[in-house]
Each structure stands twice: as structure tokens, then as C-alpha cells.
Amino acid sequence: MDGIHDLGGQEGFGKVRFEQGAKVFHEEWEIKANALYSLAVKSGIFNMDEYRHAIERMEPRHYLSASYYERSLTSLASLCVEKGIVSQEELERLAGGVYPLALPSAKGRSNNPLRQSFEPGNLVRVRNEHVSCHVRMPGYIRGKQGIVIRVTPAYPYPDAHAHGIDAASEPTYDVEFDALELWPEGSESAKVHVGVFESYLETVV
């Protein structure tokens, strides 16, 4: 989905709030929220792609204003409701107030039947696709060309795995893009490497 989470290359943001040796957790509830979602994944209530997608489906105002651990918690709670473990009403009764959840999911998709395998050195293009489901293709590489640098082992196909759809696992390709081609006349010089699923790629002839 072309969601608010797809931040790569978006403009208007200020300086990184950087700190050497920054703490990972600040409050006790953050550790609890992280532990609970990890336990839910470990217990098979949902998988990592479902977890990531429920964060992406948060209402954009909520996404932008929530801290990282609030996003985690919202995903966890949304999936518990969607899986029928609890109702939103019951959650709100337990919490004693409004419990904002993610918005509903679109339909996922299985592997692209036209996908083909690639080797290091191949010139590839990212398919010009706009899909409303979970997808691990950042918008900034859509339709862009790059070079395959290496092949990495097969992983569950996110577009299916986040939606309970059967699909074959796919290799991902380390594809090197040139920042100056990703944002012509609008970026600084750099190589940008992205792990791209096979179904997202087509050959360049």
C-alpha cells in the first residue's frame, strides 16, 4: 500500500534526533508492549508480516504522532481484534477509554506467475505496480532500474504472508540503485541497496 509508513525519500523532515548511545526503552510499558507482541508472534497468533502490515494500516494521523512502541501496541491490539481474540468494545472497557486500532486490510496477493530468477550482474527493473496490500517494495524504487548484486535465501512472500494467502517463498535480490537515478536532480550521490522480492522484479531487455 502507498501508505504513510513508506517514508524513504519523503521531503520536509528536519534533523535526525540523534544521540550517541541512545537508550532503547524509556518506560516500563514499552518493554511490556515489545514483549507482548513478540510473545504473540512466538505463539503463532500472527506473523511478522501481519504485524508490520497492521502498523502500516494505522490511521495516518495516529501513525505520525505515535511513538514506535505505541505503533507496536496498536498493531498487536488490532490483530487480536481481527483474529477474534477480543472485541474492540472489550478492549476499551478494559482500558477505560478509546482504544485506537488500525484500519481494515485490503486483499493480499500471491506470487507473480511471470516472475523469473536473476543472477548477480543482471540489470532489472522494479515492476510499476500499485497494490493496496502489504508490500515490501518502497515506493522510491517503483519502476526504477538497478543491478543485482547478490541473491539471498527465500523468505515468505510478504504480500501473501501478511494476508493469510498461500504462496511460495521467494528469494530476494540485493539490487543496487543509483540515488541520482531514483531522484533525478533531487538527491545526493549514493548507491542505495534494497532487498527486493523476485515477484517485484522484471528483466530489462
Binding site: 534526533r17 550517541q20 514483549a35 476499551e92 478509546v98 523468505y155 533531487g186 548507491k191 527486493v196
Partner: protein, 198 residues
């Protein structure tokens, strides 16, 4: 949805929302207490940047190990007793040189090799870093205190699949003959993300 200030006021405090889901999962039959204790141990004792630092220090002093780490990150890390969550199947170690600076990010969320370099800090997961580092890496690094000579090529690695990355920073000058553990103490989480050098 929280479209107005009035809606926001009705939202349950975050601690209450955590406790509500805790209750739900407890009723569902999950063993919360023991797992939260276990998670504490993972987050504070096991998933620490010193793991990656030990890999880096050994790679600095042992060329054969460096070759192993570059070829098979998971194998090299496991050979030193480190482990990975089930969904991290591949670790790519990226070597910084006089000519190349590698920098890791996750523009879509927060993915990192957290069992090796530690859990990601706020700034890594925040909007600014994710939006900007792929497009204006040199400026972002400079703002973060890392000024690179113009001849150094920057490679940004966006963690979009479950392949994970760690940067092998360059060994600082003047530390020849140091023990591996003393060398490992020099290596920071920031240097293994690639936003700082040693």
C-alpha cells in the same frame, strides 16, 4: 480515529492500553510473566551491541575470520555463540574502507540485526532518518556528526526483506597489538549502523 483534539482526550492512557492487551493475552492462555522476564533478559543481556563488536574485533585481527564473516554472516556469528530470531535467515556484513562508507536503515519500519548489534534506538525508527538517509545520506551523516571526505562513496542499505546487515567499521589507528576484547570495547552500535566511525 483521532481527528480532533476532543477525540484524543478520550483515548485511554498508553499504560492502560498495554494492561488491557496483557489481560486479553492472559485470558487467552499465554504465559505472560515468564515471557516478560525472558524478554528482559533478551533485550538487556543477550541482544547487545557487544555481540557485533566481538565479530568486528575478530575480523580486524583474523583475516580468515573476516572472510568467513563477509561470506556467511550467520555462520560466523553462530560460531561465536550468537543466535538469531527465526525470521532472520541471512546476515550480510558490510566492510567500510577508505573508499566506501556503508550505512544501514529501514525506510518502511525498523528492521535491524538486533540480536547482533542491539535493538534499534529511537532515531533509527523515527521519521526523519527513515525519510532522509536514502536520499541525502551525506548531509544526514554530517548533521549526525560524521563528515566524510568527498571521495568516499556512500552505500545505503535499506532493510526491506528479512536479510539483515551489520557494518564492519574501519579499525582505528594506534591500536595494534590490542587484545580482541579491548578492541571490541571500541566498537559502538552507531559504528555498526554506519552513522559513526571509530
Amino acid at each position: 480515529m483521532m481527528n480532533t483534539e476532543q477525540d484524543k482526550l478520550k483515548v485511554a492512557p498508553i499504560e492502560k492500553r498495554v494492561e488491557a492487551i496483557d489481560q486479553v493475552l492472559r485470558n487467552y492462555g499465554l504465559e505472560i510473566e515468564s515471557f516478560v522476564d525472558h524478554f528482559h533478559d533478551l533485550a538487556f543481556e543477550q541482544w547487545i551491541p557487544n555481540n557485533g563488536a566481538k565479530l568486528v574485533a575478530r575480523a580486524w585481527v583474523d583475516p580468515q575470520f573476516k572472510e568467513f564473516l563477509l561470506r556467511d554472516g550467520v555462520g560466523a556469528a553462530k560460531s561465536m555463540g550468537f543466535s538469531f530470531p527465526a525470521h532472520h535467515r541471512y546476515l550480510v556484513a558490510l566492510e567500510n574502507t577508505d573508499a566506501v562508507q556503508n550505512v544501514i536503515c529501514c525506510t518502511l519500519c525498523s528492521c535491524t540485526a538486533f540480536s547482533i548489534i542491539g535493538l534499534p534506538p529511537d532515531w533509527y525508527k523515527d521519521l526523519e532518518y527513515r525519510a532522509r538517509v536514502v536520499r541525502e545520506a551525506r548531509t544526514v551523516l554530517k548533521e549526525m556528526g560524521l563528515i566524510l571526505p568527498s571521495h568516499v562513496q556512500i552505500k545505503v542499505w535499506d532493510t526491506t526483506a528479512d536479510t539483515r546487515y551489520m557494518v564492519i567499521p574501519q579499525k582505528p589507528k594506534g591500536v595494534d597489538g590490542w587484545s580482541e576484547s579491548k578492541l571490541a570495547d571500541l566498537v559502538t552500535k552507531e559504528s555498526m549502523i554506519g552513522v559513526a566511525n571509530l
